[in-house]
Amino acid sequence: MPDLHLTQDRASSAEMAAVDAALATLGVTPAVVEETERLVRGGIHRKNERRHALLPALHALQTESGWISKGGTNYIAETLNVPPAEIYGVASFYEMFRVDTAPDHDENVAHVCVDSPCLEFAEAKIAELEADGTPIHRSPCLGQCERATPDHGPALFIQGRKAANSVPSDSSDLWDLPQKHEYGLKLLKNVGRIDPTSLDAYVGAGGYKALAKAFALGPDKVIEEVSAAGLMGRGGAAFPTGVKWRGVAAESGTKHIVVNADESEPGTFKDRTIMEHDPFSLIEAMTIAGFATGAQKGWIYIRGEYPLATERLQIAIDSARVAGFVGDGIARSSFNFDIEIRRGAGAYICGEETALFNSLEGFRGEPRQKPPFPTTNGLFDQPTAINNPETLLNVLPIMLEGGEVYGNLGTEGSSGHKLFCLSGHIAAPGTYEVEFGPTLRDVLELGGGVQGTLKAVLLGGAAGSFVGLDALDMPLTMEATRAAGASLGSGVVMAFNDTTDFDAVCVRIAEFFRNESCGQCVPCRIGAVRQHEVLVRTSGSKLNGELKLLQDIDLAMKDASICGLGHTASTAVLSAIDLGLIG
């Protein structure tokens, strides 16, 4: 800690400048200050206050040098007073930070998605890029699943060196929303219809009316409305939002709103849709959450592979701040609420809320044991309401229409509207909004129908499960999927036709969990590897006696892992076996 021991490696002046600039953006000063030659401020407290700047500093170093260089590490260590071993431990945790000394740090790296639905196009693309000499990184899902078509090929993300990260398929055009001619959209109503970079356009489309309504209601009433609407989290866990907010509101001291925009569940891209095309709605909704819970600070933790969403959110925050919608005295009230964006660095596990807190705080993104829960011990161990972007977006119509009215939409157990991420063998992949109620068949039809002969649908992503043709008439509601032993998860509806190599798909799902396990707990760290090994060695053949082994592994991971990653790591694979897709 403060008595740092550094190797001789020194940072280049460009590295120092890059780190300094990143810290200056955050308003973070060096941890150790020599006021005179013989008067120095430092110590544990100044170090602890600055630790959260570690991830932004590492991003700056990675972008400048193409890797987490030894000299750069030492410079960050000195500046933030974080021991170099801890910096290495954090950096080596993330996909986007390179700590090896390989010689190709001086080029951009193409991250090619190898998860379904990109999987079937991935190797061809990799071969093509490698032929060009482009450094390749086989990436887990990049959240662009709607682009995985024979024309486009797999999702790509370019990690820049001395250049910003980019997604080749991103464009500044208004998005061509599949449902742009539909009326009655509540969550996607602005998507593809207004300029996502213009606050004026947002206000012109009715923006910030919900916040005004919230101010008129007062914090307590806002939570009542959200509870009355029966809003449940859309990130996968389906926890009642009103209960969460009530819990945070009851706490005192510094409190936080965290938007979990680390959208990494394979097959999921709905939050990207919102953030790229309607960032102001998210800003407004989280401001309402802050107002209702009495939080002073809002954070958007967004996955590092979403450069366009990050850029547009930043534009939205900046222009909202100028207009008095972010910062002190919002809309001339006495309510103060600031919002900051933090970028993840490539780790599926950071979508787990407590892992996200650790990551944001500058530590390895390892989940924490619960209890205690975030409502009392969240970000910086302070009370925190953490919500998915889609969940928060629901708050706007709840404010405008009233909780009861909104709650009457949908079904008995699933109120309101829901976004689905349609991908795979489907005519028009994309983000679709429905009022809860349609069946799986209806939703597939919404996306133009299945291409080829449908064999199975993956619901809820890699952590979800496969369903077969007998599920086509199942309503895609929380209660109906639960009754069928599946789950909606994050709204993934990934269609597979009968040309699919399910062995390959399942081996990759197992590999995904093996790679994305943080490694903290034994059941998940080793169980995910053993599961993958079984699938690799039985691929294309019968499981025979190995099924018992998979079931034993599954039960231990479900029962004894720390977090949801381990709990769900074998769900999809076992459902594929049940359906006879493999084994």
Binding site: H5, V522, P523, I526, I562
Partner: protein
């Protein structure tokens, strides 16, 4: 005149929970593991130590708590009034068996003596994972004369990281690095220990449950086939260096000190020592021959 003359007293309130059908009381803030111990129920642990903050990573101490969807780690979950706990249910036995089996399939547990009886009890069979399950596959690292690192034996329990970090030494020479099965305990960029921040307090070695970290004296004796733990005696005494009063446990074999530890429950050290206390004993034996000649000892 008034002044506080005592520390704030620990809570006197007791919490009663049910463990395997019997009521057990622990002081408020006590864990399920504490309750199990109070009830005389032995619980396997790997990453738990009384002088470290629980990280609940190994999951071998899991128990079944009524109304909890998953099993819970007894080492870190506080006992709550009315909790109903099962420590030997089918689910508990299965998870404990599997955790030990997983470790046995990937890690060299040959010197993790306290785990063998548990593996036997739960019927762990590390051999059922095919012909070549992935293992830690690490070479022994010998970088100095004080201790060695044999990461083939490492179960990634975090104990050494905690002892090096803010649970004791605050040196932070090592961290968990990487992710998943590739996670390893490492210095920055895996530099050799003498080039790292390590100050050789040996507190990491003292807390290691599997002998992945070993004092060089022990390692050398083992290499020679002359490590005879069952014959060793342990004598508690006080360190001869500074005036802090650290208690030492001198482990002796053949009238020679072979390693030094400190009692984890001692108020001065909490089991932690510095380089002098841990390794500075060698003068008791080293050079003795030479001195014998000089002064007729």
């Amino acid at each position: 005149m008034t002044s506080r003359q005592q520390p704030v007293a620990a809570s006197e309130t007791a919490v009663t929970i049910s463990v395997n059908g019997s009521d057990v009381s622990v002081p408020e803030g006590g864990t399920i593991l504490d309750a199990c111990s109070a009830a005389g129920i032995e619980t396997p642990t790997i990453c738990y130590a009384e002088n470290l903050t629980p990280v609940n990573a190994c999951r071998v101490c899991v128990v079944e708590v009524e109304n909890s969807r998953t099993l819970v780690p007894s080492c870190s979950r506080a006992a709550e009034p009315g909790m109903v706990v099962q420590t030997d249910s089918e689910r508990v036995r299965h998870s404990r068996k599997m955790v030990l089996e997983f470790l046995g399939s990937g890690v060299d547990l040959s010197q993790a003596d306290q785990l063998a009886p548990w593996m036997e009890k739960y019927g762990s069979d590390p051999g059922r994972y095919g012909e070549s399950p992935e293992t830690m596959n690490e070479e022994v690292r010998i970088e100095d004369n004080l201790y060695i690192r044999d990461y083939d034996k490492c179960v990634l329990c975090y104990k050494c990281v905690e002892a090096c970090g803010d649970d004791a030494q605050h040196t932070f020479a090592i961290s968990m690095s990487g992710r998943g099965f590739g996670a390893r305990i490492a210095t920055e960029f895996d530099v050799a220990l003498p080039d790292s921040a390590c100050v050789y307090c040996g507190n990491c070695v003292a807390v290691c449950p599997t002998n992945a970290l070993q004092f060089k004296t022990e390692f050398d004796l083992r290499e020679m086939g002359n490590w005879r733990e069952e014959e060793q005696e342990v004598t508690q005494t006080v360190c001869s260096y500074c005036g802090v009063g650290c208690n030492l446990e001198l482990h002796t074999q053949d009238e020679r000190i072979v390693k030094v530890t400190s009692p984890a429950d001692h108020s001065v050290t909490s089991g932690h020592l510095c380089i002098k206390g841990r390794f500075g004993w060698q003068y008791v034996h080293a050079g003795a021959d030479e001195v014998d000649v000089q002064i007729g000892r």
